[in-house]
Symmetry: C2
Subunit: 595 residues, 2 copies
């Protein structure tokens, strides 16, 4: 039951009907991603994830990362798998061809990342952070910096990190105190400690390129005084090869609930006294803005983790439910035992989970799709519209998918009964691994605040209505096979639109809208993701009617799951409306905790 099956059918269905890849390849810059090429690429990625990466998942959890003689040691299996990952070019898929990348759309890279993450989340984090660093240097590094750093980061020969957090500066990066001093030769020296640095050190690659937020001597306070620096683990000689050590030390690694094989490091810069050698990226004091340009990508990447870990856990549960016999299902002869998947409550659990996984994938892929068009659409207005859509979808992908990641891994564990609680079974690892994703890359509370505080006001407060109306328009005249799914989506969308307007109208106390932010995020994400799923079915039915080849068995399965989504899961949003509207007064009333 431990065998990982890459969900290629579902991914292909999404790219064909829910978030059409062909819309992207219509743009010249993305023409490389023609459907046949992508189909082959995904097939190969699925095979690689299943055969090379998935077998490292359990051993990574058991052995974990270890700090030995000042350096982080990962399990032997990770070193072997990572070498193959680099050699096969998986890290390069989404990066610009100019630096050795594949030039594929983010949408395609997202599907590849999903496969790798489903196989082993702890493994996937090194590449995720490297991708973020490449993205940042691509946009903000000088030509010289890009030439020196990017080619080996694009391949994954060198890995990257993001050094933001300090003990007193977590959600509030304005409190960062790490400092950087210019030394007159164009380089800088960085001093300070950073915490929660994912893959801050490891033995998979010869070089780690740290991107570090720090303050220059003349920096204004708060977020406007933070600059971004490249600080390599090892100095790079004139030949481009990493040589002597920079003044960068791993102080300790965290003993965590999950993702044991992903080293979470406390990093010390410049402890030796003279500071860690560093290069400034872009302009002074511009670090926060630079970070923001990669935030959508990074947050989507974390949202994808919720999807991926849930997919893995639910696969395990589905396999177990087919094998395990217990009790007698309705309609079977006395004296027999049935596979538990035959019992209604187990089926309900599995189908609600699977239906929500479909919805998570639709949302994450739509988010990537929008980011691709925001960058590459030929029309400037279209780019702006797609950027706004991506800005709206990003906090939803991050928070909703990671909350569901925790919930669905828990449901999957439950299907196993007592065996689910035994670590050897494996599903408990997914439950533990999933729990980090609602926390890092901006806690889900921060995502909700971002949604209500920054995204709802966009387009004069009309963004949510525009996006929902656009989705509903595509459901107009839905084919008979799925027509019954449309009215509940319309009703839920009406609620989501109304609630957005009500939150924007809360003016008495700025805390009122914030008190409704988390339940509202859940409402809006559920509605949009469900609408995307139904849109996909409408498109698939129309394609079938037009004579295109559509896998009938898959379409039936997707339709059955969509019915579960629409009839059993979606209606929960109506129960959340009261909390969205409740305001903050109760939370600050007499008898509530003193600050």
């Amino acid at each position: 039951m431990d065998r990982y099956r890459p969900p290629l059918d579902d991914i292909r269905f999404s790219l064909a009907h829910e978030v059409p890849l062909t819309r992207l390849t219509a743009e010249p810059a993305l023409a490389v991603a023609d459907p046949d090429t992508v189909a082959g690429l995904l097939e190969e990625a699925g095979r690689f994830a299943a055969e090379v990466i998935a077998p490292t998942d359990r051993v990574g959890d058991r052995e974990g990362a270890r700090l030995v003689d000042g350096g982080v040691v990962l399990p032997e299996a990770f070193r072997t798998a990572y070498a193959q990952y680099v050699a096969s070019g998986w890290g390069a898929v989404q990066h610009p061809e100019a630096f050795g990348g594949g030039g594929f759309p983010l949408l395609v890279a997202t599907a590849v990342k999903e496969l790798i993450t489903t196989a082993n989340m702890a493994f996937s984090l090194g590449p995720l952070l490297t991708t973020g660093a490449v993205h940042l240097l691509t946009h903000h590094g000088s030509e010289d910096q890009r030439a020196r750093w990017l080619p080996r980061m694009v391949t994954g020969e060198w890995t990257g990190t993001m050094n933001l957090t300090e003990p007193q500066a977590g959600s509030d990066l304005g409190a960062v105190t790490a400092r950087a001093e210019p030394v007159g030769d164009g380089s800088y020296r960085v001093f300070g400690q950073k915490i929660y640095i994912t893959y801050g050190d490891h033995d998979l690659a010869e070089q780690v390129v740290h991107l570090v937020l720090a303050r220059l001597p003349d920096a204004p306070p708060g977020t406007k005084g933070i600059s971004l620096f490249i600080v390599p683990k090892r100095m790079v000689g004139p030949d481009g090869a990493p040589g002597e050590a920079n003044d960068v030390r791993v102080v300790s690694i965290e003993h965590k609930l999950g993702i044991h094989a992903s080293p979470t490091c406390v990093m010390a810069y410049g402890e030796g006294g003279d500071g860690a050698w560093a290069e400034l990226v872009g302009d002074p004091h511009d670090g926060m803005r630079q970070m923001f340009t990669m935030m959508n990508d990074a947050r989507l990447g974390v949202g994808l983790q919720g999807l991926a870990v849930a997919e893995r856990a639910v696969q395990r549960a589905e396999a177990y439910a087919r094998e395990r016999t217990q009790g007698r299902a309705v309609g079977t002869p006395p004296g027999t035992q049935s596979p538990i998947v035959a019992h209604p409550d187990v089926r309900r659990t599995l189908l609600e989970a699977r239906a929500q996984i479909d919805a998570m994938r639709a949302l994450c892929y739509a988010n990537a799709h929008a980011l691709d068009l925001a960058q590459h659409a030929g029309d400037a207005d279209e780019r702006a519209r797609q950027q706004a859509l991506a800005d709206l979808l990003t906090p939803l992908s991050k928070a909703w998918c990671t909350d569901l990641g925790v919930e669905l891994t828990s449901e999957a564990l439950q299907v196993f009964g007592g065996m689910g609680y035994v670590e050897e079974t494996g599903v408990a690892q997914q439950f533990r691994d999933a729990r980090i994703a609602p926390i890092y890359e901006g806690t889900n509370g921060i995502q909700a605040i971002d949604l209500v505080g920054r995204k709802l006001p966009m387009e004069d407060g009309g963004l949510v209505a525009r996006v929902l109306d656009g989705l509903l328009a595509e459901l107009d005249g839905a084919p008979d096979a799925v027509a019954e799914l449309v009215p509940p989506v319309v009703a839920a969308a009406d609620l989501a639109r109304d609630l957005a307007a009500e939150l924007l109208a809360m003016r008495d106390d700025p805390r009122d809208a914030l008190a409704g932010a988390t339940p509202y995020l859940r409402v809006l994400a559920t509605v949009i993701a469900t609408a995307l799923v139904v849109r996909g079915l409408v498109a698939a039915e129309r394609a079938r009617a037009a004579g295109e080849a559509v896998d009938a068995g898959l379409l039936a399965a997707r339709t059955a799951r969509a019915r579960v989504l629409v009839r059993r899961v979606l209606p929960r949003v109506h129960g959340l409306a009261a909390a969205v509207r409740a305001g903050a007064a109760d939370l600050y009333a007499e008898g509530t905790p003193a600050a």
Copy 2:
């Protein structure tokens, strides 16, 4: 922030107003529990839990149970604490005075258990299983058996276990294959293997009294052919002292997600060839019925774990949220950082959690209260009514409180941000510990099936309506201070009553009602628990109006939390109605998993 504070104020409030202890002490058999005695007992239990038990929680998680030379070894701190537990008489509180017990109502014992469990769930499981065994032998053992076994089990000098599960017999105990043979001297020999045996072996006590389900040679198949046996770890000599070993062996212990210090054993009986010495309890083939008599108590005990672990985790989160500064709250001067408890979304998290903990406590205590009156009320009709109430509340306490235990420990962990994911912080342990409770003692799916299949049909299908109407009647004419809380409770109760009738009316396919069982359990538990909370406030306001001493600060705090419960949490039930009503057709449609 790691300091455990026994929630005595809340417990006292519940016993005074929500589930009045004085209603119990009005019965002569329960007069021992006069409020002053109980107040002193709880004060002392709180001190014991905080000072003696709570310090063993983290070390128990880190060291865990170990199998050494065929016996289970627990952390040294557990042996010391358990000796004090026995010496102080905490295990005896609820047991009959005839066997050395305190003769207190289950309600009072439940409060004591809550305190011990909140301090250390893994520790509490030994006493929980022992209590179940005592309960069972009290009701079904012969006079001779009770005299020989009970006195030292009541004190906790000897511990007890329940041996039900086998690899092929989990939720379906009819599949049990362990066998027992009479040897002619009145004793039996037991053969077979049992799994998931909590505290199946340990070094806290000199004797372990196993209660084992097995089949006699002439047993009919299924649940009607299962008998119950006493199988001691060590043979008891004529002097009553444990002597040589019985043929009982610990095969292995499980490596689990949580409750590391609670040994979960695979037990082998009669491997040596001649069988493990055993005594039959009660009549042959009567084991399942005997087990059922203690099931309400045991399931309530597990529900209480959800409450207790959530209480501990939320205490940690509340303390952290007051200490940790990050970001600037609305209305505070620029440049300052505020404690995170000042931010609306953090307050929402903490208050929703705390409000649900209040509701869980009200439900568990009401369940115990009903079990006490079912046994001890002077009037036979009253006893029958209270037994029916307890039968209804038990699956709710078990499933709802343990689901919330997982959800609220997760919310508490989230409040810590990155620190929550680091094991040293401690809250991750509660998240892991909590996850077993929805599984054992009947999975929560089994509880939902019990509710819909067995409990809804009681009293000609009128039980739910009677219970709800009774609760609503007590809210009639609520004092002004809480009057606004009543209409939402009435609306939710109307829904719960309607849904019960609809589930009972589903006759086309027996799977339809089962497909709605889990969401319906959530609806009904939320409604009843909320009604109990509001009833408590009504009673407290009336007591205050009548001039009784009521802590004004506490009442304000409870009222604030009840507003959060009623306005933000309770309305979610309306979003679950669709899933209750959806039936099973979608779950078995074309495209859903083949059995």
